[in-house]
Each structure stands twice: as C-alpha cells, then as structure tokens.
Symmetry: C2
Subunit: 344 residues, 2 copies
C-alpha cells in the first residue's frame, strides 16, 4: 500500500515564489507573451525546470487555451486512418499542442455527437473531424463554438475548413485504368449510405457516383454492391459478386480495407488475382504495397491530408475570422500487380 498521499501539484505560484517574480510574469513566459525581459525569462525557465512545473490544463481552460486538439476518427480498424493521424501528429509535434483522440463512432450519429460534445466540454482548442456523419448544420454549430477542420467530406462551409481528396477523379482513375486494360464488366463495392442529406457529401457516395459516371463514359454498365467500408464488407460483397450469372472481370473496392476482404473471398473461391479477376482498392494504405497483395490502389496521401488538416487548424486557431479554406487534393493511381487484362 503506497498510500502516501499524492504530493500537492506544483503551481504557477510555486514557480513565481521560487523565481522571485509575480505569477503574471510566469504566465507570460509560459505563453511567450509580450512584455518579458530576457533576464526574467531565464529566471522563470530555470524555476520551471527545477520544480518540474507543468501547467494544469483545466485551470487554463477556464481562461485561455488548453493546447489540446481533439481528433475524431471513424474506425480504428481501417488502416487508412492511422495514416491521417500520423500526418497530423507529425505536423503538430513541437507545436506545444497535444492530440487526443475520441473513440471511433462507428455506432452512429448519436455516439459521434457525444464524442464531439465531450471534446468541446473539455475545452479543446480545435477539432479535427474525420469523415463525420453528422448533418452539416450540426457541423456548423460545432465550428461556431470551436475551430474545426472537417476531413474527407465534401461540401463547402463558411464555418469550417475542409480537406478532402477528389473522389470523383479517384474513382475515374480506377475505371479508366481497368477499362484501358480491356475490362467491360467492372463491379464496385461501396459503403452503403442511407441518409439522403449526407449522400452528396460523403466520400463513399462520391466514389460510387464517380464510378458510375466513369463507367457510363466508357459505355459500360455500372454494377454496384452495397456493403460497408470494412474487411467484412469486402468479403461479403465479393461473395455476392461471385454469385452473379455473368461474373465481373474486375472489382473496384471503395477502400483498401474492403479490397483485403475481397481478396480473401476470391482466394477462398479459388480465383487467382489478377489472372482470374482484377482487384483495385482506394487509399493506398501500407497494406497495398507490401507483399504478395501488391494492390493497385488510389493514393490519396493520408499523411499529407493529416498534415494539411493540422496546418489549417493551427491557422484558424490563430485567426478565427479568416475565410474558410477548402483544400481538395488530387489523388493518383498506383498500379501494382492486382490488376491486369481480363481473362481470355
């Protein structure tokens, strides 16, 4: 039983006393605020180091900033999101801002709202919402309370910044590539979207729409299977596709995690890739590159997306009145061994 009462926390008062200055001075040094002489800064810094002082975020929250940024990721099992997070944290390293993640909100709109509220209530200085499903009015309401960047969702707003990849082009890249290889029957597995108001903004819906448009542009018949952007979704989607009377010669999975499930279903069905059927994914996660999978995939540069979101957020925290920015990144296609011409 180490029940020695926890030692009282070092506060700004202790530091001030130790450095023989006022608490105001310490506060100013902490925030690099105007009006501190080099001599005082040195004294205060020394006291801080000596005492091992760390500011109490709760107390800061009451008056100023908490130097905390909240990030909401939709699904920890999708390997694309860690890519975004890496970009975020890389950009935020050494800025003094701390990132905290809200647990994934796969559970729906209500769970998502709870997480964002929790972040706001905890005085976060800014929010990064990755592919949120909340209605746009709700996002704007959030953005009015706290600087917000919405990632991976289309639709402009004057309340928040956005970073997204051009999913229409991404889908077109895949269809063009496959059609160019001679495929005529290309199936697409999408993440099923029921809510009509979201339909126009969610990346999954736009990819599906881009796929349809690109198919028609090639004079081909779209063939969409609706499951989800999960491994299971890919697995079940592919199984469904394999029951088609006329089997497609290529499958465009809406996300790499979906493609993984697709590849599993194909292996199980004894279909060789790409000899028997071609497969392409989206996100170019590290899964696509390594090993025998060697998946053709659309690269939307998750790391760059994350870094851009972080930059925009810091910008906005510094100046809440600047006009909002909408960054749309151009995806590229990384062709690997999972796609080839259709079987003879």
């Amino acid at each position: 039983m180490d029940s020695s009462a926890p030692p009282r926390r070092i506060t700004i008062v202790d530091v001030a006393r130790h450095a023989r200055v006022s608490t105001t001075a310490v506060s100013k040094v902490l925030r690099n605020a105007y009006g501190t002489s080099p001599a005082m800064r040195a004294k205060v810094q020394a006291a801080i180091t000596e005492l091992g002082y760390r500011p109490h975020a709760g107390a800061r929250a009451m008056r100023g900033q908490t130097y905390t940024i909240g990030v909401m990721l939709p699904d920890l099992r999708n390997p694309f999101f860690p890519d975004i997070l890496d970009g975020l944290t890389d950009h935020l390293r050494d800025t003094g801002y701390q990132v905290l993640l809200g647990p994934s909100h796969c559970n729906g709109e209500e769970a998502e709202a709870k997480v964002t509220e929790a972040m706001i209530d905890r005085g976060m200085d800014g929010l990064i919402l990755v592919a949120p499903i909340a209605p746009r009015t709700h996002l704007e309401q959030i953005a009015r309370l706290v600087p917000t960047v919405v990632v991976g969702r289309h639709g402009h707003s004057t309340a928040y910044d956005t970073v997204a990849d051009d999913d229409t082009t991404g889908a077109k890249l895949v269809v063009d590539h496959l059609a160019g290889l001679g495929h005529r029957h290309i199936a697409h597995i999408e993440h099923h979207e029921t809510n009509p108001t979201r339909l126009a903004e969610m990346p999954n819906a736009i990819r599906a729409e881009g796929y349809r448009a690109a198919m028609r542009a090639h004079g081909l018949e779209p063939d969409v299977v609706s499951t989800s952007y999960t491994r299971e979704g890919g697995y079940l989607g592919a199984q469904q596709i394999l029951t088609r009377p006329r089997r497609p010669s290529a499958i465009f999975a809406g996300a790499d995690i979906v493609a993984i499930g697709v590849l599993e279903a194909l292996t199980e069905a004894g279909l060789a890739v790409p000899a028997g059927i071609s497969v392409a994914g989206y996100d170019n996660t590290n899964f696509a590159a390594l090993g025998p999978i060697s998946l053709t995939s659309v690269d939307q540069a998750g790391h760059h997306i994350g870094a851009t979101a972080a930059r925009l957020l810091l910008d906005r925290i510094a100046d809440r009145t600047r006009p909002t920015a909408q960054v749309k990144l151009s995806p590229t296609l990384v062709v690997r061994r999972s796609t080839a011409g259709p079987p003879a």
Copy 2:
C-alpha cells in the same frame, strides 16, 4: 462569414437561476450527491434539459472529477488493440465517463511519457495504459497521482492494478499444438526487446521465453527471429526464416499482425499453408477468423481484457485505498486451418 460571436456558454449559474435554486443544488443534482429532494431534482433536471446545459470539464477539473478516462494504446495498426478498446468502451458506456485516447507511442519511451503527462495535466480521473514501455518506477509514480490500470504487462505493483493474459501458457499452447502435430522445427518471431529491465515484464518477451521453455520441454531446439510486432516485422522475419539452411516446418508468430506479414512472405515464396508450412498467431483478432487466412491463434479475449480493465479502474476511482488487483486471464488456443502436420 458566420462571424457571429459564439454564444456564451450556459453555466451552472444560468441553470440555478432558471430553476430558482442555488448553484449548490444544481451541482448536487449533477453529481447525484446526498441531500436533494425529488422535487428539486426534477426542477433542476428540467432546467438543464431546457437550457441544454453541459458541465465544463475544465472547471470541474479544478475541484473534483472530469469524468474522463485516458487510454494509451501502443499501436493503432495492430488490430488487437481495437478489441481491447471495444471492451473498454462497452463497459464504460452509460457510466458517465468519457474515454479519450492518447496517440500511439510507437515512438518510444519519451513520447509515451509525454502522452501520460498530458493526460494527467488534463485532469483525467483514471488512466489505462496498454503495454506501456516505461520503467516500472515511472508507472508507479503515475499511479500515485491518478488511478491507473496497466494492461498486458506482467509484474505486480502495489500502486496500480494489472490485467494481463498468461503469455507463458499461451506460448506453450501453440508449441504443444504444433509439436503434437509432429513438428520438430518450429520457429518463433518475437518483438525485439533491448531494455533488460523491461524484459521480465513485457508480454512479447514472456511469449518468447514461454516458447523457449515449451520447446525445451519437448526436447526441441528453439529458433527465434527478432523483428517487431508489426506486419513488416512478420514479413521480414519470415523472409529471414526462409533463408535457413534447414527450413522450419512451422512458424509461431508472436501476434496476429505478425502472422499476416508471415503469410504474405510465404505466399510470395510460393509456400502453401499449411501444406508446405504451418503458421500460428497470437491474439485471435478478427483477422484470424475470417476468410481463407483461417489462422490458428491464441485467444486472449481482448474484449474481456478491456472490460476488466475498465471495471478495475472504476473500482479504484471509487476507492483509491483498496489493495491492488492482478488479473491474469487464461488464454485458449483456437485451432484453424493454418496449422497441420509437417510436410512428409
């Protein structure tokens, strides 16, 4: 430009005024504290709902609890950790506690310390540290400041509770299974551990040691390859194993994510599983179960581990003086199609 200034936040004072009671009364109702009549509770609840009041966690942090639990996960790309997180959040749902995640600390001890400090500074009521790499003295120091549960790390402490799976037994289950199938040369891929003080506590080290002991018990020669508990680690480890003058007939990967990389390397090398070589993993993540992978794996019930950690933490938050608990869960082996007798 929606530059309408954000509306002033509703505070406890607003609620009190609206309900025609004191702020104390509101505070008590919020915390289900002793000494509130049903009539007052109703009045206050009504006012809270009507005004849409939500407590300010920063202000709470200054006096009492923040109803926030910080969770540190080591690696978001390892599918086992979401399993633990699911268990945690399931248990914490409707308790009024909010979970926030610290970004993964793959970057080492210093990064990990920064995350835990950040969580403490933000007034978290409790911490759940999953497979932390900090020295034990540091963990105890943390635990003295805030209720802490350490997950997936061995070694008892009187300062924090622990939840871990019996990794020695887990490794033995795999070796016994493979040896029972007739394998004599079983290789193991471990997560390389350099720090000698950690060696005795980290699950990866214990799995490797358990493997060695079990091998010797069967009169077999251990063969350990040191990489990391990542997909790349598995891929590279397997490649290394395949260059052995005498190739093992089975590979025991220290984690499912490692096994995934192993399977990729084997596929690439044209080796069939299990006809050419057997593969077993650890964690029984959902990757193991679905599809053609069908990986034999040790089930350490991640969901249950998470739920147990949450329970212990709530317990400790309620009573910081109770003796610490050490929960050791017994793993089981889930045999699937990736293991069979050695090739003739």
